[in-house]
């Protein structure tokens, strides 16, 4: 393993040469979809689902309001499916050394794995390592990849698959439905409460390779789960596409927390559709941190379908030089006595653009709904750009919907005060930026919070 690591002479070069057993080639045609389906041994209904989605993708135009030119993304140059020919591994010892070497570069510490309730690391489109701890299996938790989920647990996953985010929802959810591979399918049985978060590491590892993972989490009545997803991507010359679909279903009184730390390399186009349905008294929380990518368009949504359901969104986005972070949240109140809360903080550095785009909708039939949205933006440099465009759409007189937004900058007085106390300018900047984010960083699990704080300090030192 150490021999393998010596190849990485330059720091920050996460690219790793890998040979692929299955390669669907460049471009997207009907044959590409048929190839993916054949390699995965999928049943007829799933192939038809993919082909239907492909037709929708081809028919739908690219949304005109996309803020960045998608021309560098040549859809006919992308490789839609690459996989190593290997079964998902249950034991760590069985994982090939070269895959382990990549994980070491990702910074997954060996001892941490023991604490993780179920480690699932996605190596390109297929799962290279998946281990479920005994205790999880005893509780009846199912934690598999998308192919295994649909093939071996069809009765559980098929009724909900593609229902929360249908293929026709938008162009990129249609694309994902046509070529998806990898991702996690999770079922938490009635009453099961998981103390440890479930965790997955995602990674893109082939140039021009779009990763289209599909995640479906079903949390049955009274169950509770926290799911963690973190990303790093290798540095590539040409643009890469990441179009994932995440579907959450929270049955009555269930609680789901979905935590994402997104740190793709700055050539990745990250166009993700995330949505959850909350039934009676259920709670869905999205905790989202976007630092990387060229363009991120991500608006996690909660459909509050049952009475007394609750939706929450905590969002941090950092836009650097050349980046466009278009993030936000959607709260759809379709049932009475539902409540939702959105907290979004964004930082724009140099000519980075940080935008909040969100919707809060209260249906006619929904009574006594409450929403509170707060967006704060911090602009570091004079050329930084910040945008906010929320939509509040209320039917009827029994709702309370509020939105607030502020824009601020780091003032010279604040810097001067800290410098008087003996801090360097970049240290002072790091401290002030962390102070701005602190309230939301606390929502992340401790190790993520600590990492993010360090990351912010490093960013400020570079300025």
């Amino acid at each position: 393993m150490s021999e393998n690591l010596e190849e990485f002479a330059t720091p920050g070069n996460f690219s790793y040469a890998t040979e692929y057993a299955h390669d669907a080639g460049r471009g997207l045609r009907e044959e590409t979809v048929r190839y993916i389906s054949k390699v995965k041994n999928e049943p007829r209904w799933l192939l038809n689902f993919r082909l239907r989605a492909l037709k929708i993708f081809e028919a739908m135009p690219i949304p005109p309001w996309i803020p960045v030119d998608l021309a560098p993304l040549q859809f006919d140059q992308i490789r839609y499916y690459l996989a190593k020919d290997q079964e998902p591994k249950r034991r760590w010892e069985d994982v090939p050394d070269e895959v382990k070497a990549t994980f070491d570069r990702l910074g997954v510490p060996e001892n941490e794995r023991k604490f993780l309730a179920g480690v699932e690391a996605q190596f390109d489109s297929e799962m290279a390592y998946a281990s479920l701890r005994q205790s999880l299996a005893e509780k009846g938790v199912i934690f598999v990849n998308s192919t295994e989920g649909l093939l071996q647990h069809e009765s559980i996953f098929r009724p909900h698959f593609g229902k929360v985010v249908p293929p026709a929802d938008n162009k990129f959810s249609a694309l994902n439905s046509a070529v998806f591979s990898g991702g996690s399918f999770i079922y938490i049985p009635k009453g099961a409460k998981l103390e440890q978060p479930l965790q997955a590491y995602f990674r893109i590892n082939a140039e021009q390779f779009g990763q289209f993972e599909r995640t479906l989490i079903i949390v049955d009545e009274d169950a509770e789960v926290t799911y963690l997803e973190g990303c790093t991507a290798p540095r590539f010359e040409s643009s890469t596409l990441h179009a994932a679909v995440v579907e959450l279903i929270a049955m009555p009184r269930a609680k789901v927390q979905y935590i994402t730390v997104q740190n793709w390399s700055s050539n990745v186009y990250n166009l993700v559709t995330k949505r959850g349905t909350a039934r009676e008294s259920a709670e869905i929380r999205w905790i989202d941190c976007n630092i990387g990518s060229r363009l991120t368009m991500k608006y996690p949504c909660v459909v509050l379908a049952g009475t007394r359901a609750r939706g929450e969104m905590v969002s941090i986005s950092v836009a650097h030089h050349g980046q466009y972070q278009d993030t936000g949240a959607k709260m759809i109140h379709n049932a009475s006595h539902t409540s939702s809360h959105i907290m979004a903080k964004s930082i724009s550095i140099q000519d980075g653009v940080a935008a909040y785009r969100g919707t809060t909708r209260v249906a006619k039939s929904a009574k006594n709904c409450k929403n509170y949205t707060r967006c704060d933006a911090l602009m570091i440099h004079p050329e930084s750009v910040s945008k906010t465009s929320p939509t509040l759409d209320v039917n009827g007189n029994l709702a309370q919907v509020q939105h607030e937004a502020t824009v601020s900058r780091v003032s010279d007085e604040q810097i001067r005060y800290l410098r008087q106390r003996g801090l360097g300018e970049s240290q002072a900047m790091g401290l002030l930026v962390n102070g701005f984010l602190n309230e939301l960083l606390r929502e992340f699990p401790m190790e993520y919070g600590v990492e993010l704080k360090r990351l912010m300090e490093m960013e400020m030192e570079q300025r």
Binding site: P382, P390, H403
Partner: protein, 212 residues
Amino acid sequence: MECEKLSTVLPADGILNAPDGFCFIDDLPAEASYELRLDTHTHCKFVLHLGPQGQHIRRRTIFSLCGENAKLDAHVLIQAAGNQCIEWLGIQRHLVKNTESNLLIKSTAENGAKISIISKIIIDAPATESCAHFQNKNLVLSSRARVIARPELEIHANDVHCSHGATIGGIDPTEEFYLRSRGISQRAAKTILQRAFAEEILCQMPNDAPYN
């Protein structure tokens, strides 16, 4: 402050270079679109009441702060009832530094009325040390009414003070209960609260405004 009616001072091209120290009253018909330009050291007020103009009302207003130290205070009251449909599309645009704009929009929607409020603050890169605020409060009085609010910000300079806020809600039941416990009928209590809600803007209206 002297008052000017827009119907008498607005040029044919719809762009008015506002002189200093005036309060402009929008008394235009149901559909209108115009730009108000404020030059250096100009301090203006703007008042608008949407509702009596007709069934479908649409306003497209651009407030451009083109000169340094220009300041604008704008108040808009929207009252929709029946099957009325009222649209407001406003832009507060700051082009140069040291400019200030404040916009307050209050609306009430009764019966099956629809109100749509899209209001944007744009701060251009040279407009440093500017101050822009937008506040929007909407009162929905019927279960059939609908209010859509979209307060937007687009900021290209970092040394600015900007904020916006929007609320949509019904009549506060505790306020209504307070009035009813003092012997006021439900209907009267509603009228009082509605009037109190609009008062903040009505008091900005000059006495000879066409709506009073």
